[in-house]
Amino acid sequence: MNPRKTEKFAFSVLFLTTLLVVIPVGLVVAIIVKKGLPAISWEFLTSVPRSGMKAGGIFPAIVGTLLLVMGAIVFSLPIGVFSAIYLSEYSRDNFLTRMIKLAIVNLAGVPSVVYGLFGLALFVVFLRFGASIISGSLTLGIMVLPLIITASREAMESVPQLFREVSLSLGLTKWQTIRRIVLPNALPGILTGTILGIGRAAGETAPILFTVAAFYLPRLPRSIFDQAMALPYHLYVISTQVPGVDEKIRYGTALVLLILVLVVNLFAIFIRINLRRRKKW
């Protein structure tokens, strides 16, 4: 075959394999939207589950997920940003820095169910928090930490060196420079990382299986030491553990979770694209 024809053939194969990746994504979203939309109503979103989760709404699961995510971010955002400041502004190219970077990579790669075990051993059993929102939040917080560190570090490192030099030469201290110059310029990047962390924490099930999740708790949690329902775990429960739940409720729950996560991620993508357009340097 002549090289031109080979190229045409090869590119068509590449194109087809790309479709194999992209089309199922569209299908998954389309199926869930189509079958889940009829279930969505004000009542579904704002009432508690009834008759063993076979009827009623998912309000406690939505609230539980929001609380868990908030707790996770409150914990991981300061540590993540400070850690990024260390890596971008203080660290030198030495063994310790290499180890920190390797630890971040590994933290990102630890299977989510292992985070669940860790949370159970440390927060639930050892620190006696019990299965509670605080145990789940801390577990999820550690899980999203690598995401926040990596995004924040990249954002800070892309702030031009010149900005820092000007600030230091005007007599500002290193911390003042970081706070007034580096952080404001890196803010959109930090925000993107945080939002991705929110999406990740909202969708994960395995880390909260043994640290927080209540199978069926048709009321709102009373404190951060209380158990709570959560959307992903609720979807798992009604699709595998409870026989005879109306398909509509399952799809409806999947849709609410999917919308929550996709909206959060689209928001992050939007910020990033906007940032690239407006970059001043």
Partner: protein, 287 residues
């Protein structure tokens, strides 16, 4: 006063800087603390090589060989499906397509990465499993194959985005040189660009495998959860991750079963550590 404030803040910054190391260390420590207790009563060989996983029978058996084989079978299937498709779409996205479409494709793949695994597991249960059941005429569609297909799909974002980065990072001069010598674009891709990006592509495959081995919810929902040594890819299997997730809720803290599930956690942690360290070496290999 100002000096003191700066000192406190800089100490906090340093402490947060090493937080990642502290957490990795803590995770390993607590897995060891809870998991190692198993080996007071069960030897490591009985644990890793034992053919029976009957944690609640009397006497209990804690052999995780069926679970290891289950994980390997599902992972192997997923790798065989996802690697060729993933790498070839990465090439398409990095080299062939129009820049506008490239942006769109990358967004779609990012969204795939964002879909929670429990949602994909649910969709797999209601669409993929019945499909596989009817194609192969099986008693149940919850099989290793269903798990492999679903996991292949879930590994795509990792493989495609990391391989795409590696291809994109190949210096433009390589490409220009090849084209100037009269090679077609395709010849340039497979003779010059892909070999130049090979260590990054290898890393993408390894991290994809890491993602698949560690995946829990989807795999638990669609592989059928039978802790037997698998004979065929069309049978239900049970993976390491699914075993922990499915059984931990029913154990008593401090029981042998509880320790055994943590011991499985140690195995998973070490596997992911090995994969991530190796992949990191590939990614930072100097060209």
């Amino acid at each position: 006063m100002k000096k003191l404030k700066e000192f406190v803040i800089e100490s906090l910054i340093f402490l947060s800087g090493i937080a990642a190391i502290i957490f990795v260390f803590l995770i390993f420590l607590f897995l060891l603390k809870e998991g190692f207790a198993l080996f007071r009563t069960v030897t490591i060989f009985e644990f890793l090589g034992g053919k029976n996983w009957y944690p609640i029978s009397e006497p209990p058996h804690f052999g995780i060989l069926p679970l290891i084989l289950g994980s390997i079978l599902v992972t192997l299937g997923a790798t065989l499906i996802s690697v060729p498709i993933g790498i070839s779409s990465a090439i398409y996205i990095a080299e062939v397509t129009h820049p506008r479409i490239k942006e769109l494709l990358k967004v779609i793949i990012e969204l795939l990465a964002a879909i929670p695994s429990v949602v994909l597991g649910f969709i797999g249960m209601v669409t993929l499993a019945p499909l596989i059941k009817s194609i192969f005429n099986l008693p149940t569609g919850l099989t290793a194959l269903s798990g492999s297909v679903m996991l292949a799909f879930m590994a795509m974002p990792t493989i495609v985005s990391i391989a795409e980065d590696a291809l994109y990072a190949v210096p433009k001069s390589y490409k220009e040189g090849a084209i100037a010598l009269g090679a077609t674009h395709w010849q340039t891709i497979y003779r010059v660009i892909v070999p130049a990006a090979s260590s990054g592509i290898l890393a993408s495959i390894m991290l994809g495998i890491g993602r698949v081995i560690g995946e829990t919810m989807a795999v638990m929902m669609i592989t059928g959860n039978a802790a037997r040594i698998p004979q065929s890819i069309l049978q239900p299997v049970r993976t390491l991750t699914a075993t922990i997730a499915a059984e931990m809720g029913e154990t008593v803290v401090g029981s042998e079963h509880y320790f055994a599930l943590f011991a499985i956690g140690i195995v998973l942690f070490l596997i992911s550590l090995a994969i991530n360290v190796t992949a990191d070496l590939f990614l930072h290999r100097k060209r």
